[in-house]
């Protein structure tokens, strides 16, 4: 795969944009042309953050419904909300864990079950892989590395134009030295969980 539209969606503060930039740098290092976009104006903590990465020679930095080859969902509900962006035969790699929106906490709205993502995407997506990113990141050393867990999962199940080894190099090259170890651990845990999930 050398041409791909990747749609990222998550909640402010989750590291969605950091992950987007890391993938963009990985693509550049692989010699692939890249353009990326983000919307974060009103995304104070708790709002939705969406970003895009288009690899392989696209000029537009946005993705329209039905156009995404890959959806990377950093939060379960946002993954579900982002599904209309997916093209038939695309990949969905997401976090199986939830961050409650305020309406849910107030009891005014119901958080959809995990199965809603699987049910909706079934028969349309080539593959749906959900891994518990926050728990695995905590296991790696900090919940903040949940974004890297997701990248590890996505690379391991073949959703990205690059592999776990490319991401390992990027983490070593572009993250602050004190963050490298914990993120490498998170990347590996994500990759492992995705492979286990695929086998299951």
């Amino acid at each position: 795969m050398t041409r791909a539209r990747i749609f990222f969606t998550g909640v402010g503060g989750q590291g969605t944009l950091t992950a987007t930039t890391l993938l963009a740098r990985t693509a550049l290092d692989a010699g692939l042309p890249v353009t990326s976009g983000e919307i974060h104006g009103m995304a104070q903590r708790g709002g939705v953050v969406e970003s895009t990465l288009l690899v392989g020679g696209y000029k537009s930095a946005i993705i329209a419904p039905g156009e995404a080859d890959v959806i990377l969902g950093f939060e379960l509900l946002e993954t579900l909300r982002g599904l209309p962006m997916l093209r038939r035969g695309g990949f969905v790699v997401g976090n199986s864990e939830a961050l409650q929106p305020v309406g849910v906490c107030l009891g005014r709205e119901c958080y959809p079950p995990l199965e809603a993502v699987l049910e909706t995407a079934k028969g349309f997506a080539a593959q749906v892989v959900l891994v518990p990113c926050i728990s695995l990141a905590e296991q790696a050393g900090t919940a903040k590395a949940a974004n890297t867990v997701l990248l590890g999962a996505a690379a391991a199940c073949g959703a990205l134009p690059f592999g776990v080894a490319d991401l390992t190099r990027s983490i070593e090259k572009y993250l602050k030295p004190k963050l490298v170890d914990v993120n490498l651990k998170a990347l590996a845990l994500g990759a492992e969980a995705a492979k286990a999930g695929q086998a299951a």
Partner: protein
């Protein structure tokens, strides 16, 4: 993105945000003076200048508002320095007064105005098209589409402005400011440019007699620029055939992707415009003459479309021109999806069928919310307790506009930056109802203060609550005139807000909004008075306090009693640190900022214990 932007030799490939690329481009154009008022989607441009400002070859300031920013910038270019002034589209309305005359007075050192427009209203109150300001004010206009073009056009806008001594508009849109892509850098200039000021009042003072001469000079510059636009490498033609497309700005990206995916590259004619005002008239005329039918692809207003229609009529070119009315919307932003449908209709193909999943329409929404520990939440809670629905709430632009949402519903109307006091005053005068006007510290300095002066002068009956969180939080924690701390340490010259209010003629009352009892007492007292009254609710934004290393270490709150008894607190505060786990109220220790406001509202909530964590 750090110091590599200041590296003097070019030739590197950097992965840059559009706004960062603009910084590099203006540096390559020799910029030495930068002013701004922050505002999404422009903010990362000035923020990057600010971060790199120590020891950098330019002066930088966050001005008090856009009008002041442009006026200070105007002074700098008159003094002979290459100057950049940045703002969001609605900011240009604030700066419109000096802008309209600036092009008359001229810009000897060079002056580029960055206007970041927001088609789709991602973070704005309207989606005005500021290309019209280029026409109104007589400013040459560049419209970049990629990160590389942001860099190149920012540089060339600066060089062109210097050459012509006239201000130039660099007009971007949200998707361009926030695009991220590879940028090949050029060299920074070896010698700094300046043009010493020579007194010449007839040239620089627009009295009526001299203004008429200046206007003539400006029109001559713009007329002369048509040849430059015709020859500009940013105005590029490709392809062949009878069907033509003309596009500018970010729409070019959507159009070229669609032409490629539809297999139309080379089979249709394409004219891409980057230097769009004045129009490259001769080039467009030649293009029109070669086509039978042309589709103009541009977001928002039919600016090019109308001008190109007029051009065809003037030159007697018989060609069918299509655009907004036939195929493309005037509202919102474009995407490959709607441009694809327009292109297919134009070339006579059936509409493309898009296959996409549908999800339930009633998914829980995730509106942006006041953060955990935000002092505005406490201030709104107290105001609601005193006034409930009896008062009308006049709101303003900032994080606190989010108080619009339930449970606070603390915004009944809003016009623009700095309007809450004056609009609230007008409403109170007209209706006789109690009015509470909310305004942030930065917004008060920006243009709220004139409303206060008016309220005092005409004894308007309005309670003004200044939500002073010691920073400009909404746009990314930029310093404003009142702040005591920035990312570079203490502000040596803070403006005393309390003294300023006093000087306007009101004795303000100051409270810490996180101290509920004191705030409630102050509000109750103020609610019994009439005329203009000011409550300053001062407490630092917790995110800002953390960023500048001034956050007080506190433990998260916890449920110490009956969780069911805390549900009223949950309903009244809607703090994002609150959660329901297995139907039980709980406080998420990871999210809680330890502000301890909720603890004051229920005996069942308690400060965290040391051993708890």
């Amino acid at each position: 993105m750090g110091k590599e932007l200041l590296k003097s030799e070019g030739g590197d490939t950097l992965l840059l945000l559009g706004n960062e690329a603009i910084v590099r481009g203006t540096l390559e154009g020799g910029v030495r003076f930068v002013t701004c008022y922050p505002g999404t989607p422009s903010s990362e441009a000035p923020d990057t200048f600010f971060r790199l400002s120590q020891g950098a070859p330019y002066y930088f300031e966050y001005s008090v508002n856009e009008k002041v920013a442009l006026e200070v910038a105007g002074g700098a270019t008159l003094a002979g320095l290459p100057t950049l002034c940045t703002m969001k589209h609605v900011g240009v309305n604030v700066a419109a007064d000096p802008l309209m005359t600036l092009a008359y007075v001229s810009a000897p050192g060079g002056l580029v105005l960055l206007s970041a427009d927001d088609p789709g209203c991602h973070s704005s109150q309207n989606e005005q098209d500021n290309r019209l300001y280029a026409r109104l004010g007589g400013l040459p206009c560049f419209e970049p589409a990629t990160a590389q073009e942001c860099k190149d056009m920012a540089r060339d806008a600066m060089l062109l402005s210097r050459k012509l001594e006239t201000p130039v508009l660099l007009r971007t849109t949200t998707r361009v400011n926030h695009v991220r892509g590879p940028v090949v850098t050029g060299d920074l200039p070896a010698t700094p440019y300046e043009k010493p000021f020579v007194k010449d009042p007839a040239k620089y003072v627009p009295l009526p007699a001299s203004a008429r001469v200046m206007h003539k000079r400006l029109r001559a510059i713009l007329d002369g620029l048509v040849a430059e636009a015709d020859a500009s490498p940013y105005n590029v033609e490709s392809g062949a055939g009878e069907l033509g497309f003309i596009s500018s700005g970010v729409s070019r990206n959507y159009l070229t992707d669609v032409l490629e995916e539809e297999g139309l590259v080379g089979k249709v004619r394409l004219l891409e415009l980057g230097l769009t005002y004045p129009l490259p008239e001769n080039r467009i005329a030649a293009f029109l003459s070669a086509c039978k039918k042309v589709l103009i692809v541009e977001e928002l207003e039919p600016v090019l479309e109308n001008e190109i229609r007029a051009l065809a009529q003037t030159r007697g070119i018989s060609v069918e021109i299509l655009g907004k009315s036939e195929h493309l919307p005037r509202l919102g932003e474009f995407s490959t999806a709607n441009v694809r449908q327009a292109v297919r209709a134009f070339v006579g193909q059936p509409a493309a069928v898009v296959e996409a999943l549908t999800v339930p329409g009633d998914l829980p929404r995730r509106p942006p919310n006041l953060c955990a520990g935000c002092p505005h939440r406490a201030a709104y809670y107290a105001v609601r307790e005193v006034y409930g629905d009896t008062a009308v709430y006049s709101s303003d632009i900032g994080c606190y506009t989010l108080g619009f949402l339930p449970p606070f519903r603390a915004a009944d109307f809003l016009l623009c930056m700095g309007s809450s006091i004056s609009t609230g005053a007008g409403f109170a005068r007209a209706s006789g109802k109690p009015v509470v006007a909310f305004i942030g510290d930065s917004t008060f300095f920006h243009s709220g203060i004139t409303g206060l002066i008016d309220a005092v002068a005409y004894n308007h009956d309005v309670l003004i609550v200044i939500l002073d969180n010691r920073t400009t939080a909404m746009t990314g924690h930029q310093p404003n005139p009142g702040v005591d701390t920035t990312i570079f340490g203490e502000n040596p010259n803070p403006v005393d807000l309390m003294a300023l209010i006093r000087a306007c003629g009101v004795e303000p009352v100051k409270v810490n909004p996180l101290n509920h009892k004191a705030t409630l007492a102050a509000l109750t007292e103020l609610s019994k008075q009439t005329g203009p009254r000011v409550l300053v609710a001062e407490y630092p934004c917790p995110i800002h306090a953390r960023r500048v290393g001034q956050a007080k270490k506190t433990l998260p709150a916890r449920v110490a009693g009956d969780p069911a008894a805390c549900l009223t607190v949950r309903d009244n505060l809607a703090c994002p640190a609150f959660a329901m786990v297995d139907g039980q109220f709980t406080i998420n220790a990871e999210q809680c900022d330890g502000c301890m406001f909720c603890v004051q509202l229920s005996p069942d909530l308690k400060p965290g214990k040391k051993e708890a964590k």
